[in-house]
Each structure stands twice: as structure tokens, then as C-alpha cells.
């Protein structure tokens, strides 16, 4: 086969571009454009006082035309809506409106600002735990039958005996001893499940029995420290039961498939439903024991709605007084908490019984110090302070219910009542955790006074200060008291001996300090913490609290130069000696820095400190570090590197990068970032010098280039290296560092053979050819402007690359090599032009160097011939049946190349293109549509030329 000489079409890029490019029309800001990005519009939230609801109006971003999406959404796109909802100011404003309205008509529903029980649940379960063995004693004997049908006809003894037999028959008396806490919880969950099962299989009596037995467990106070958790678990079952009964009766009320509305009146309830409901109440009223009777009745309190309007309001006070019969004060207070909880759910408007519950509790308060309780504690080896904290969840809850939207006067009255009871610490603590923070904050000095006065025995004082601190973190005390409060509180806190108690308190008070005081006070506080936590390495047990302190400090002090001028901040960080915690803290600081630092910095204090922190993060990386973790750390460090700028002092900047490189050598993304930063620095220099480097800047730029050149090889990802070589080479070229650019390109060329066939992307192995193809095309475009080296042959780099491609072991059945060859033809055609399509400023490319020298052109033409021969060879090998489709495609691809870049006036080339066209058509694999489209475009262009 004869060789086909290549004749490139000569191009005049300027005129071509003039002809082909679309007429550009400047776009006004408001104009509609389909590609214009969707903008999130700040929507104004209008407060409609009448409705008390928020409605949004949007200022649409495209005014000339209706956006079909936004019109559906009533004007505001969902993102804008979110933006509006997230706006704290407007939310607060609308909340205010809602609240005002509530206050006016005394609405019965609970607002979202009421902290639900569900949120307390987990906290209690986590806090009140035990390692002691628990027991469940379930006695599934038929309670009702025993109470009603037994007569004295049979003697007492025989009766009990018979009953036992009955029960054994039912197989229902179970005593489970020696349960661990987890076993216990599982058992309770099983009971919950069997309740649901029994209910769904229509065994209502069994369901009731289960509930009764469960609530009976609440009268058992052995392993007292677990009692609050037990309460939580068992009331879950009661809640389930209450819901089941209510829904069952509600479903009976469905007439003609129309269910009752939420606010139905008892008259609309049909007789069957009423009768069923009454039956439940009668059944429950006959439960022998007090505690189960109380709990089960409270659980179905809501069902009173079916019987009468006033049912609930009559029931609540009665149940409240029933609790007086419960002798154990702890059991009683939890019963009260349950009643308050059910009451708040069912009838939040009935506040009186809440108050009565609390006052009743106050009346029985003296019992806590009575003999019965004390004896019990001795038996169980529980100390009074621990015992008292068991009350907290219940009292907190009761007070929270009372305090919810309660008038100031009531709160004051409550406070006075508690004061009368000898200023008890337990109550004081609960008041502080339940009442509104504003209320407490306004009286902080009073509270401090009370805390100081209250008796030492019993409730631990540091808990009181902690509670007060929590309030002050939420609400501000009067301006004048700020310092005095801190002084008074800290005086006590600093005297705490136990490091755990101390740190729990200090953690809370740090927030108050940061909120209201300057760095001096913060420094003092931090110093005090260090002083307390250092002896005996106490900090080791307090990492979570210390971490929370750091978090609080950085949320309030966003200015990092200020933060690092707090002398004790870095020593404080030194306390985090466990590496994982240390890294966590560092991450927090860096996140905050990236979030809050607005402008780049060169403050040496910040740089030193942050470099130290970043170094800590970096040093935590080891072979076992997870990929995600590394990525996160690298992102944080990169964020920091990007924020560092020495302004015009480029040399300083470079030396910073050098230092960073030595510090963060284990994190590749950081190295990549550094290379990019240095490249950017070089380009910045060029910009400052307007392209004309002085001797000094030229040397500096060469230093930058050298930095990149020696950094790139240390990276492991091959494509990162390739792309960085190319990119850095381009930068070097732009800065007129020709020999350095050559070095980069040579390195890239010599790296290509190392590209593996498969690379791992996101943990999956993928073929690399697509990436290689992309890179090579990119590389070719750069090579167009790279001038030849005077000592090397013509087109040294191109030849080198072609050799590498030739020798590269391509995938057996892939056409990538030929595609690349075709692309090389594009490059070579562009090289034969008199003036190249683009240039690098201040760099003479081959067009100027050779000036269209015929030897140069002949050289290119020879290369072309070789390449074409290769392509045709390959096409020939594709003549087999199964590869015909690929042949057709490649032929078409080559055909298009000739059309675009070849000179068709040349007969041989013309003939070749016709042959290729036929080849593409020959076996019927050509998709006519694409053929027509592609060719048609080209032909239009031809008409122009």
C-alpha cells in the first residue's frame, strides 16, 4: 500500500473565528436566561398579626418571565423558603405573634417550645444505671376473679391453694432473679411486645393483666438507683396501653366510616363505645393494689373524653389526691411526674392539678428524712446525696410542666414556698432546671445567696452551681451583676476538691464567662481549670468536658488573633494528651477558623499556633487512618493554607509553603494544594511584573518552579503527577522558564509508560484509558506552543511522546491508540500553519522560530505519513466480522479529521477520504443520522472556505 502524504489545510484562525462565532448580545441583569443559575432569594416574611401565621412573598429573580417552577410553588422556591424559615429574627418575630395570640385566648394546645418527655427519656436512661442484679416478679393470677368470686365458704388456706393451682395452670407466675440491667430492659421490651401481641389477638384481659403487672413493678424500690430508668421503661408500656385503648374506642365510634373529629363531644359517641369505655373504667377501679390502679387509670385518662366533657377535669384532682396514699416518697414523686405528663398531654389547660401535685409533694417532703426512708437506704448502701439526685428527673418534670407559660407571679410564689422548706437544695436545683432561664438569670444574685445558705448535707452544691450556670448560659443576668456573679460562683467552684465535680461546674461557667467578659477573665478561668486538672493527671477522666470548654471558647471568640493572645489557651490544649481527643479538638479549632476567618492572614501568632495544631492533626495520620479521615484532615489543612497570605512579600510566602511541605508531607492532598499555591504564586509574580521579569523575580519564579519539580515525584497518584507536571510546565512556560518547562514535559513523557491499565477510583478499580486519553489530548494542545530545544532534534517532545505511545501496552481490543494518532494529526496540522492558533506571551513558538521553513514542514509531513500508515494498518486489522463496527467508527473518525484538517484539493487525500467514507458505510454499521449530521456540518464549513 502506498504511503499517503499529508497535506494540511492552511487556516486563517482570525478570519475563521470572525465568521464562525455567534454574535454576542450583552445580557442585562434582569433578563431571563435559561442557563442563568437559580438564585436563592431572600424572601421577606410578613407577619400577619391577625392569623399569627407566616406567609412568604417572593421577589422573583427573573422578572421578565414567569418561572414555571416558582409559579407552582406559590412564588417562593423551596430553598428560599428554608432560608426564610432559618432566619432567626423572623422566626422569633412570628413566634412572638403566636405567643401573644396564645396568651389571649389561652389556647389549650401545647406549643413546640414545650420540651417533650421523649427528649428527657434518653437522658434519664443513660444517667440512672446500675450494676446490681434486678428482678422481675410477674404474677399473672386473675386479679379480678380473686377479688370478686372468692367466698368465705372455702377456708382461707384452701382458697389460696386453689388460686396457686389456677395460676400454675396458666403458667403465669414468673420470678426472674439476677437480671443484669440489660436483661431487665430486654424483658421489659418483651413485655411491651407481648402487650401489643395480646391486644392485636384480641386478648384484652391478658393485655390488662400485663399492664397491671408492669405497673406493679413500680412499687418495688429495691436497687433504688435504677428506679428512674425503670420508671421510664414501664411508663412506655403504659403509654402504649393508653394509646391502644383510646384508639380501640375511637374506632368503635366510627359511624358509616366517618371517624370523629379531634374535638368531638361526648354526645356524638355511640352507646357501644361508651359502654366499652365504662367497662374499662369499672375494671380498673376494681384493681386491688393502689399503685397499679393509679397508673393504669392515669394511662387511659384520655378515654374520659368519650364519657363526659368534665371527666378529665374531675379525674385529675382525684388522681392527684390518690397519690397521697403512696407511702414511699420516691415512688410517689414519680407517680406525680407521670400524672403531670399525662395531664399535660391530654389537658394542658388544667394547671391547678399540676400545682396541687407540687404542693402535695412539698407537704410530704419531710418524709425523705424520715426513718422508713433512711432504713431503706442503709439496707441498700445508698448515700443521701445520691438518693436525692434520684428525685431530680421527676421534680424537674413537674416544675417544667408548672413553669410552662406560667405567669411570673406563680413562679415567684413557687420559689417562696420552696424557700420556706428550709431552702432545700434539691428543690432549688429543680427550680433552676425547670423554670425559664430569663426568670432565673434576673434573680441570679438571689439564687447565689440561697445556694450559699442551703444546708451542706444531702444534695451536692456543685450541682446547684452547675444548674445556675446552665441558666446563665441561656439568658443574661442584669448588666451590673455580671462580675459579681462570676466572682461569687467561681469562688465556690474553685474550692471544689473532686476534679470531676469541679470540671462539670467549670464547663458550664466557661460559657457565661466567654459571653460577658474579655479575654482577661477567660484567661483566668482557663488558668484555673489547668491548675485543677493537672494534678494526678485528672484531665484524663475529663476529656469530654475539656473538649466542650474549648468548643465554647471558640464559639465566642471568633477572632483568632485574640484567641491566641489568650495566654492559657495553648497550655490548655496541652492537656489533651490522648491523641484521638487531641485531634478532635484540633479539628474543631480548624473548622472554626475556616468558618470564621474572613480574610487571609499573616499574623505570626496565628500562623505559629495553627501550624502547630495542623501539625498535630497531620502527625495523627498513620497506616491505620481511614481514607475519609485523611480527606477531612487534608481539607482542614488546605483551608488553613489557603488563608495564609503575606501580601506582596512573595518570598516569605514561598518559604511558608516550603515549611508547610516539610510539615505535612504525609497528606497528599496538602502537597497538591501546596503545588497549586506555589504555581499561583509564580503567576501572581508574573502579574505584578506585567510579564517582564527582572533578574530577581526571574530567580524567584525559578525557585517556585523548582519547588514544584521536586515536590511532584513524592506523590503517589499517577494522574495527579501527570496533570501537575503538565500544569507546572505550563506555568513555567508562562514565566519564560523554557528549560524548566522542558524538564516538566520530559518528566511527563517519561511517566506515561508507567500508567497502569486499571486505577482505583473511590475504592473501585476502573480502566484508566479514558483518563489517559484525556490527559494526552491536553498535553498535545500544550505541546503546540512549546518551542523546540536548540540542542535536540526537531519536535523532540512530540516524537518522544509518540514513541511512548507506540510502546505503551494498550488494551488488546481498544482503539485508543488510533484515536490518539488521529488527534496527533490535528496537532501536526496546527503546527504547519503560518501563525499558530494561540501563543504564550513573550515565548516564541515554533512558527516564529522556524518561520515556515521547508525542512521543518517536511519533517512534520514525514511524521504525518508515519502516523497515517499506522492508522490505516490498524483499520485493516479490524476487518474481521466481530470488529466491523469499530472499524466503521474509526474510519468515520479519521474521515472527519481529514475533512477538518486536511487539504482535500490534494487528490490522494481526496481519494483516501472517499475510501474511508465507503469503508464506514460498507458493512451497514453506520448510523445514518450521525453520519449525516457530522458530514453536513463540515460541508457547511466548506462552503465558507
Amino acid at each position: 500500500m502506498a504511503a499517503f502524504p499529508w497535506h494540511a489545510r492552511s487556516r486563517n484562525y482570525v478570519s475563521e473565528s470572525d465568521v464562525c462565532k455567534l454574535e454576542s448580545v450583552p445580557l442585562d441583569f434582569g433578563d431571563y436566561h435559561p442557563l442563568k443559575p437559580i438564585t436563592v432569594t431572600e424572601s421577606k416574611t410578613k407577619k400577619m398579626s391577625r392569623k399569627g401565621s407566616t406567609s412568604s412573598t417572593s421577589s422573583s429573580s427573573s422578572s421578565s418571565m414567569m418561572d414555571p417552577l416558582s409559579s407552582v410553588l406559590d412564588g417562593t422556591d423551596p430553598l428560599s423558603l428554608f432560608a426564610a424559615a432559618a432566619d432567626p429574627l423572623t422566626t422569633a418575630a412570628s413566634m412572638d405573634g403566636v405567643r401573644k395570640k396564645r396568651d389571649k385566648d389561652d389556647s389549650s394546645a401545647l406549643g413546640s417550645d414545650f420540651e417533650q418527655w421523649s427528649s428527657k427519656r434518653g437522658e434519664i436512661l443513660a444517667r440512672y444505671t446500675t450494676t446490681e442484679k434486678l428482678s422481675i416478679n410477674l404474677y399473672m393470677g386473675s386479679e379480678k376473679g380473686k377479688a370478686t368470686t372468692s367466698g368465705s365458704a372455702v377456708s382461707e388456706k384452701v382458697r389460696t391453694r386453689l388460686e396457686e393451682l389456677d395460676d400454675l395452670e396458666e403458667g403465669s407466675q414468673k420470678e426472674l432473679l439476677n437480671l443484669t440491667q440489660q436483661d431487665y430492659m430486654n424483658r421489659i421490651e418483651e413485655l411491651n411486645q407481648s402487650l401489643k401481641d395480646a391486644w392485636s389477638s384480641d386478648q384484652k384481659v391478658k393485655a390488662l393483666k400485663i399492664v397491671i403487672q408492669c405497673s406493679k413493678l413500680l412499687s418495688d424500690t429495691t436497687v433504688i438507683q435504677f428506679y428512674p430508668s425503670k420508671f421510664v421503661l414501664i411508663t412506655d408500656i403504659l403509654d402504649t396501653f393508653g394509646k391502644l385503648v383510646y384508639e380501640r374506642i375511637l374506632s368503635m365510634c366510627m359511624d358509616n366510616r366517618v371517624s370523629l373529629s379531634d374535638n368531638f363531644s361526648p354526645e356524638t359517641v355511640n352507646d357501644t363505645a361508651k359502654e366499652t369505655c365504662l367497662n374499662w373504667f369499672f375494671k380498673i377501679a376494681s384493681i386491688r393494689e393502689l399503685i397499679p390502679r393509679f397508673y393504669v387509670e392515669a394511662a387511659i385518662l384520655k378515654c374520659n373524653k368519650f364519657l363526659s366533657k368534665t371527666g378529665i377535669s374531675e379525674c385529675l384532682p382525684r388522681l392527684t389526691s390518690v397519690i397521697r396514699g403512696i407511702g414511699d416518697p420516691l415512688v410517689a414523686v414519680y407517680a406525680r411526674a407521670y400524672l403531670c405528663r399525662v395531664g399535660m398531654e391530654v389537658a394542658p389547660q388544667l394547671k391547678e392539678s399540676l400545682n396541687k401535685n407540687f404542693f402535695d409533694f412539698l407537704l410530704t417532703f419531710k418524709q425523705i428524712h424520715g426513718d422508713t426512708v433512711q432504713n431503706q437506704l442503709v439496707v441498700q448502701c445508698v448515700e443521701i446525696p445520691l438518693y436525692l439526685t434520684l428525685y431530680s428527673p421527676a421534680i424537674d418534670w413537674i416544675l417544667q410542666c408548672i413553669a410552662y407559660r406560667a405567669p411570673e407571679i406563680l413562679l415567684t410564689e413557687m420559689m417562696e414556698r420552696c424557700k420556706k422548706l428550709g431552702n432545700n437544695a434539691l428543690l432549688l436545683n429543680s427550680i433552676m432546671s425547670a423554670f425559664r432561664a430569663e426568670f432565673i438569670a434576673a434573680r441570679s444574685m438571689d439564687f447565689i445567696g440561697m445556694i450559699k445558705e442551703c444546708d451542706e448535707s444531702g444534695f451536692p452544691k456543685h450541682l446547684l452551681f452547675r444548674s445556675l450556670g446552665l441558666n446563665l448560659a441561656l439568658a443574661d443576668p442584669p448588666e451590673n451583676d455580671h462580675l459579681q456573679i462570676l466572682n461569687e460562683a467561681w469562688k465556690v467552684i474553685t474550692k471544689l476538691k473532686n476534679p470531676q465535680d469541679y470540671i462539670n461546674c467549670a464547663e458550664v461557667w466557661v460559657e457565661y464567662t466567654c459571653r460577658h467578659f474579655t479575654k482577661r477573665e477567660v484567661n483566668t478561668v482557663l488558668a484555673d481549670v489547668i491548675k485543677h486538672m493537672t494534678p494526678d493527671r485528672a484531665f484524663e477522666d475529663a476529656y469530654p468536658q475539656l473538649q466542650s470548654i474549648i468548643q465554647k471558647v471558640i464559639t465566642y471568640i471568633n477572632d483568632f488573633s485574640l484567641l491566641f493572645s489568650v495566654e492559657k489557651f495553648l497550655p490548655f490544649l496541652d492537656m489533651f494528651q490522648k491523641e484521638s481527643v487531641r485531634v478532635e479538638v484540633c479539628k474543631c479549632i480548624m473548622e472554626s477558623f475556616i468558618k470564621h476567618q474572613q480574610e487571609s492572614t499573616k499574623d505570626p501568632v496565628i500562623l505559629n499556633a495553627l501550624l502547630h495544631i495542623c501539625k498535630t492533626m497531620h502527625d495523627s495520620v498513620n497506616a491505620l487512618t481511614l481514607e475519609d479521615e485523611k480527606r477531612l484532615l487534608a481539607a482542614l489543612i488546605n483551608g488553613f493554607i489557603k488563608m495564609v497570605s503575606f501580601g506582596r512579600d512573595f518570598e516569605q510566602q514561598l518559604s511558608f509553603y516550603v515549611e508547610a511541605r516539610s510539615m505535612f508531607c504525609n497528606l497528599e492532598p496538602v502537597l497538591v494544594q501546596l503545588i497549586h499555591s506555589v504555581n499561583q504564586l509564580a503567576m501572581e509574580t508574573r502579574k505584578v511584573m506585567r510579564g517582564n521579569h527582572s533578574r530577581k523575580t526571574a530567580a524567584f519564579v525559578r525557585a517556585c518552579v523548582a519547588f514544584c519539580f521536586i515536590t511532584i515525584p513524592s506523590l503517589s497518584s499517577i494522574f495527579t503527577r501527570l496533570n501537575l507536571y503538565l500544569h507546572s510546565g505550563q506555568v513555567a512556560l508562562a514565566n519564560q522558564c523554557l528549560s524548566q518547562a522542558d524538564a516538566f514535559f520530559k518528566a511527563a513523557v517519561s511517566l506515561v509508560p508507567e500508567v497502569p491499565k486499571m486505577i482505583s477510583i473511590d475504592g473501585k478499580m476502573r480502566p484508566s484509558d479514558a483518563f489517559l486519553l484525556e490527559f494526552l489530548c491536553n498535553f498535545f494542545s500544550t505541546l503546540l506552543v512549546v518551542p523546540d530545544h536548540p540542542e535536540q532534534g526537531v519536535l523532540f517532545l512530540v516524537r518522544g511522546l509518540l514513541n511512548v505511545i507506540q510502546d505503551y501496552t494498550w488494551e488488546d481490543n481498544s482503539d485508543d491508540k488510533v484515536r490518539i494518532y488521529t488527534n496527533v494529526l490535528h496537532l501536526l496540522s496546527a503546527m504547519t500553519q503560518e501563525t499558530y492558533i494561540y501563543h504564550v506571551d513573550k515565548v516564541d513558538s515554533n512558527d516564529t522560530l522556524y518561520g515556515g521553513d521547508s525542512k521543518f514542514l517536511a519533517e512534520i509531513s514525514k511524521l504525518c505519513e508515519t502516523v497515517i500508515a499506522q492508522i490505516l494498518d490498524h483499520l485493516k486489522t479490524l476487518g474481521k466480522e466481530e470488529t466491523l463496527k469499530r472499524q466503521s467508527q474509526l474510519a468515520l473518525y479519521f474521515f472527519n479529521t481529514i475533512l477538518a484538517h486536511g487539504d482535500l484539493r490534494n487528490n490522494k487525500l481526496n481519494q483516501l477520504s472517499v475510501n474511508l467514507w465507503n469503508l464506514a458505510q460498507k458493512h451497514g454499521f453506520a448510523d445514518t443520522k450521525t453520519m449525516v449530521r457530522r458530514t453536513y456540518c463540515r460541508e457547511i464549513c466548506y462552503d465558507f472556505l
Partner: protein, 297 residues
């Protein structure tokens, strides 16, 4: 499944009073047509008396069970012999609740020795090959409300070691003082028994305080009468060592069926009492008894 017979009484709670009309439907469901020899409905009401073994001896109790006293008994023929179509057939009925002569419709009451029960029985007689079908269904009779107003009779009580009767060693008793009151011993049966109780002082810890509802049934017969007191229910009102000086509510709902207005007839009597039982930690049991008079208003 063959044929099923069911009685549905119109009122959900099945409660009727003297003079009212008991109405409902008999429901017959069957896949095939039903051949029958007539369907009849019988209303029965009777008092069953049982002598307790304790008062008259085992044998006598066994043999000498008193004949039931019939209060009401009437039968109506609902359907003449014939065929019923397949599927569900509903036959409505109405019974006027009237008594003959000077008999009284006592309230439904389920006790140990006295039982007052009212039933409806539906019988479907069938040919020899098929069994007769029967379905019974209890309905409840409440006596007509008594006219006039109930005069409340509140009772105050104080329990101390000194007020107790039949104590063996008064000296060994711990000291205590319990005060309280019942709102009324004349009770309306639909209203709970209420009152308050305060443990003013007690040397021993309180274990439990309970209300025991007791029925006192008296059956008269030729040889005299038998009187028996049995427990109906026991309601705990205090559990554990309650706070001193704090009033604890006394509250008890009278159970349905097992209580009725206090009844006194020539043949039998049904009366009620409540016991307040205080159980101390050293197993001392203190009981205070109050007779009640129940009525329906």
C-alpha cells in the same frame, strides 16, 4: 357451619327497668334454608338461694337448696313452624317488663348465696334429625329510682388502740391515731364511696390501708335463717408508710352486678358493709366496720 342463633338486645348496656319494653332482634344465620318446628322466646327472672355450708351443715346445704323464687316468666311464639330462607334472618321482638301480682322486679345481683338473674332464651325446635337450637342471653334489671332525696349520713371516726374491740393483748399494741370520715353511709350505687382518712400518728410503720367491701346475705327458710358475710372487693388506698397528718382519699366505685341496692324481702336479705383495714408493719391488723345502705337514685 350449620345454623347459628343469636340474640341481640337493643341497648348496648342491656339495662332495663320495670315497665320498660325490652326490645331486640333474634338473628339466625345459615347457609341453607332452615326447616324448623317453631321459634319461641322466653323471658325468665328468678332469685336463686343457696344455703351456706357454714350455717346449716354440708348435707343440708346440698339437699336443702331452697327452691328458686320465680319473679317473671313469659314465652312468646316468634315464628310458626316452617322454613327460613338462607342467609341472615333478623326477627325483631318486644317484651314489656311487667310483673304479675304483687311481685317485685329485684335488681340483678350476683352474689354467693343469693343470685338474682334475668335471661332471655330463644329456642328453635327442629325435626328429630337435627338438634334443637337454644341461645340464652342475660339482661340486666335496675330497680326504678327511689323517689325523694337521699339524706347523706356522714360518719366521723377515730381509731386508736383504745377504741378497738376483741384485742388480746392491748399492751403489745403500738400507739396510733387514725382519724377520718366517710361522706355518707347512705350511698347511691352509681356514685363512689368517698371520704378521707388521716394517719395522725403511728408508732409502727404503716404497711397498707385497704377498703374491704363486704356483702351480707341472709337467707330465710323454714328452719330459721342463715347469714353470711363475704368479701366483694378489696381496694388498697395506701401503700407503704404514708405521710403523717396528710389526708388520704377514701374512694371506691361499687362494682356492677356484684352490688345492688340494699334489699330486704321476706325470704332473703342483701346488705353491704365496708371495712377499713389498716395493716401495720409488725402485722397488726386493725379493722373498722361501717354498714352501708345502697340505693339507686
Amino acid at each position: 357451619m350449620g345454623t347459628a342463633l343469636d340474640i341481640k338486645i337493643k341497648r348496648a348496656n342491656k339495662v332495663y327497668r320495670c315497665g320498660e319494653i325490652l326490645s331486640g332482634v333474634v338473628v339466625i344465620t345459615s347457609k341453607d334454608t332452615v326447616q324448623h318446628q317453631g321459634i319461641s322466646l322466653t323471658m325468665e327472672g328468678s332469685v336463686n338461694l343457696q344455703l351456706s355450708a357454714k350455717s346449716v351443715g354440708v348435707f343440708e346445704a346440698f339437699y336443702n337448696s331452697v327452691k328458686p323464687i320465680q319473679i317473671i316468666n313469659s314465652t312468646i311464639e316468634m315464628v310458626k313452624p316452617g322454613k327460613l330462607p338462607s342467609g341472615k334472618t333478623e326477627i325483631p321482638f318486644e317484651f314489656p317488663l311487667h310483673v304479675k301480682g304483687n311481685k317485685v322486679l329485684y335488681e340483678t345481683y350476683h352474689g354467693v348465696f343469693v343470685n338474682i338473674q334475668y335471661t332471655l332464651r330463644c329456642d328453635m325446635r327442629r325435626s328429630l334429625l337435627a338438634k334443637d337450637l337454644t341461645k340464652t342471653c342475660e339482661f340486666i334489671v335496675h330497680s326504678v329510682s327511689q323517689k325523694g332525696k337521699l339524706t347523706p349520713s356522714p360518719v366521723d371516726f377515730t381509731i386508736t388502740p383504745e377504741t378497738l374491740q376483741n384485742v388480746k393483748e392491748r399492751a403489745s399494741l403500738p400507739k396510733f391515731l387514725i382519724r377520718g370520715h366517710l361522706s355518707s353511709t347512705n350511698c347511691i350505687i352509681t356514685q363512689p364511696l368517698t371520704g378521707e382518712l388521716t394517719v395522725e400518728s403511728a408508732e409502727a410503720a404503716v404497711k397498707s390501708i385497704e377498703l374491704q367491701l363486704v356483702r351480707v346475705e341472709t337467707c330465710g327458710c323454714a328452719e330459721g335463717y342463715a347469714r353470711d358475710a363475704t368479701e366483694i372487693q378489696n381496694i388498697q388506698i395506701a401503700d407503704g408508710d404514708v405521710c403523717r397528718g396528710l389526708p388520704i382519699p377514701i374512694y371506691m366505685v361499687f362494682p356492677r352486678l356484684f352490688t345492688c341496692p340494699t334489699l330486704e324481702t321476706t325470704n332473703f336479705k342483701v346488705e353491704f358493709e365496708v371495712n377499713i383495714v389498716v395493716l401495720l408493719h409488725d402485722d397488726h391488723l386493725i379493722t373498722e366496720n361501717f354498714p352501708l345502705k345502697l340505693c339507686r337514685m
